[in-house]
């Protein structure tokens, strides 16, 4: 079940990735390719290694083996913000918003970071030269040059647009921490989009939403994929959602990939049922989707 080798249009590609925490093998020989327009699912029992996979892809953890490529670039050893600049954005399983900032500013941070001039390679970060170059842009902020003001207004516009897309315009000036759970999740997505990603990783976006909101979310995710021409990778425990929107689903268990394929195939896969869905699933949700 290995993936088509480095085809150029692969925006995100993991090959043979493994990571170990002390004794525990959290992820073993993980392969994945995300192309523009893909809408993929990543499921598996709790502790299977899904979030860990996200962390490895985004540079939060460094893989013990294997390599990760973003937009064709090998990114092993890079730090998250560098990888993000290549077009990889994510949300977090347990929400990590900038709690004291308004919804608008949360998004603006992300929008701006893209402008961030010189993505510095790790290790180089300390180099005086690079550090100094980064000050140029500060001067424009301090002198409040017309160009800079234009930029700022442009940022605000973008951010407001994203809030609107995610249906959060009414929360524009609310502090993130005061938003109810579901809206916080959507704000996280808006923020991720702010970084103008080519690939979007969503870690349990529907957690804490009621069935109704989940339904809306499904529509939304599809829409985002098309509107922003993204590749999307979703972790989710809500089968209705995953099966509903994903074209291909990868199933992890104990860090191993135990299945990959179309929803229908995966749903009826014996291994998957044992490890994850459980028999009862067939009865209750059998009809669904």
């Amino acid at each position: 079940m290995s993936v088509a080798a480095t085809s150029q249009d692969a925006m995100l590609q993991a090959s043979g990735v493994s990571i170990r925490f002390g004794g525990l093998k959290a992820l073993t020989d993980f392969n994945l390719t995300v192309r523009q327009g893909d809408l993929l699912g990543l499921i598996g029992p709790n502790g299977a290694g899904k979030s860990t996979a996200f962390n490895v892809l985004t540079g939060v953890y460094q893989p013990t083996e294997g390599e990760v490529r973003v937009a064709g670039q090998k990114v092993n050893g890079w730090v998250p913000h560098q990888i993000n600049h290549l077009g990889l954005a994510r949300t977090f399983q347990n929400i990590r918003l900038f709690r004291a900032l308004t919804a608008l500013d949360n998004v603006k941070v992300a929008c701006r970071a893209q402008g961030a001039l010189h993505p510095v390679r790790l290790g180089q970060a300390a180099k005086v030269g690079t550090a100094l170059r980064n000050y140029r842009d500060w001067w424009r902020a301090l002198l409040l040059t017309p160009g800079f003001q234009r930029e700022e207004r442009e940022l605000t516009r973008q951010a407001e647009h994203l809030l609107e897309v995610m249906g959060l315009s009414h929360r524009r000036d609310e502090e993130a921490k005061n938003l109810p759970y579901g809206e916080q999740r959507r704000l996280e997505i808006a923020r991720a989009l702010g970084t103008r990603p080519k690939v979007l990783l969503l870690d349990e976006p529907a957690a804490g939403m009621n069935t109704r909101e989940k339904a809306d979310l499904m529509v939304l995710i599809r829409r985002l994929r098309d509107e922003f021409s993204l590749g999307v990778l979703v972790i989710e425990h809500d089968m209705k959602l995953v099966m509903g929107i994903c074209e291909t689903i990868t199933v992890l268990d104990h860090g191993e990939t135990i299945a990959r394929g179309a929803p229908a195939a995966v749903r009826s896969d014996r291994k998957v049922i044992e490890a994850y869905l459980g028999d009862s699933y067939l009865e209750s949700h059998g009809g669904a989707a």
Binding site: S51, N55, V60, F92, R96
Partner: protein, 306 residues
């Protein structure tokens, strides 16, 4: 050679004092994540309490065993109370507030105590240092040649006390319900309350414990260096805090090891390099340690799960 040995002894002796004070810092930090800047000054107050008691007892009594016990009891008890009051009125009201605010009140109390005790008004002792009575009659326990190397009884005593305390605290924190509660509270006292832990009481007790400890440490310190002064807390406090960080603040054995190391480093800088650079080297050492081990020698920076 004999000189090296003497330096070793001196270093350990002053390290021991740092250790005893550092333990207090580490305990409070452990449960509240608060750098209790007033700790050193609480210690100072304790020493003055002991000083007063010693005088009340008079020359003979203060040297008798029970006399010493009384002195320590009064000082430690008094400081425990002081610690309780400080926590109750200066820190607890800020429990829900950003950590830095409590830090500021700590600084405020530190100023109030250290400057207050410099006043020569009423019972306050005034700025000039006093000689601390020899409540533990100093006797050499180990001499080489014509006092080429000298070890004193109080040096050994305080060292043993320090090590025992370390053991005791380590046990308290990691082997007892109280300790488990402490660690729970230190993470999040609201959730801890959901477990039925009386958080306020736990925190208050921790403070009393650490303050009482400070008094004890202070007395041993005063006995060692034979003098009391209102600013003694400031200097020792800072060093002890550094020691605690070197060891990994919040970590009990770390505090002691860090303190002993700091004591030795300082001693040897003075002994074999330039004494004028002692403090610089001490802090340089600290920074070095942190650059190599960002969490201190024993501290672990918990890799947060994302």
């Amino acid at each position: 050679m004999s000189q090296l040995l003497q330096h070793l002894i001196n270093g350990l002796a002053s390290g021991t004092i740092y250790a005893l004070v550092a333990l207090g810092y580490t305990m409070v930090y452990g449960v509240l994540k608060l750098i209790n800047f007033a700790h050193g000054d609480v210690m100072m107050v304790g020493v003055y309490m002991g000083y007063a008691t010693a005088f009340a007892l008079g020359r003979e009594a203060q040297r008798s065993l029970w006399g010493v016990v009384v002195i320590f009891a009064v000082a430690m008890g008094g400081c425990a109370l002081l610690g309780f009051l400080i926590e109750r009125f200066a820190y607890r009201p800020l429990r829900e507030k950003p950590r830095l605010t409590a830090l500021i009140t700590a600084i405020g109390i530190s100023f109030a105590l250290s400057y207050g005790f410099q006043l020569d008004i009423g019972f306050l002792p005034g700025a000039s240092p006093r000689a601390f009575p020899e409540v533990i009659v100093p006797t050499e326990w180990f001499i080489v040649g014509d006092r080429d190397v000298v070890v004193w009884n109080w040096q050994v005593i305080s060292f043993l006390i320090a090590v025992t305390l370390m053991g005791a605290l380590q046990f308290l924190v990691y082997r007892t319900r109280f300790g488990m509660a402490m660690r729970a509270v230190s993470w999040d006292h609201r959730t801890a309350a959901l477990m039925g832990i009386p958080t306020d009481r736990i925190i208050a007790l921790t403070f009393m414990l650490s303050s009482g400890l400070a008094a004890g440490a202070g007395l041993l310190y005063a006995i060692k260096d034979t003098s009391v002064s209102p600013l003694m807390g400031l200097y020792v406090g800072l060093k002890a805090f550094v020691a605690a960080v070197i060891g990994g603040i919040g970590n009990v054995p770390g505090a002691v090891v860090g303190a002993l190391l700091l004591g030795l480093v300082e001693e040897f800088v003075v002994g074999y390099a330039a004494s004028t650079w002692r403090d610089a080297v001490a802090f340089g050492f600290l920074i070095l340690v942190l650059l190599v081990k960002p969490g201190g020698l024993f501290g672990r920076v918990a890799a947060e799960k994302v």
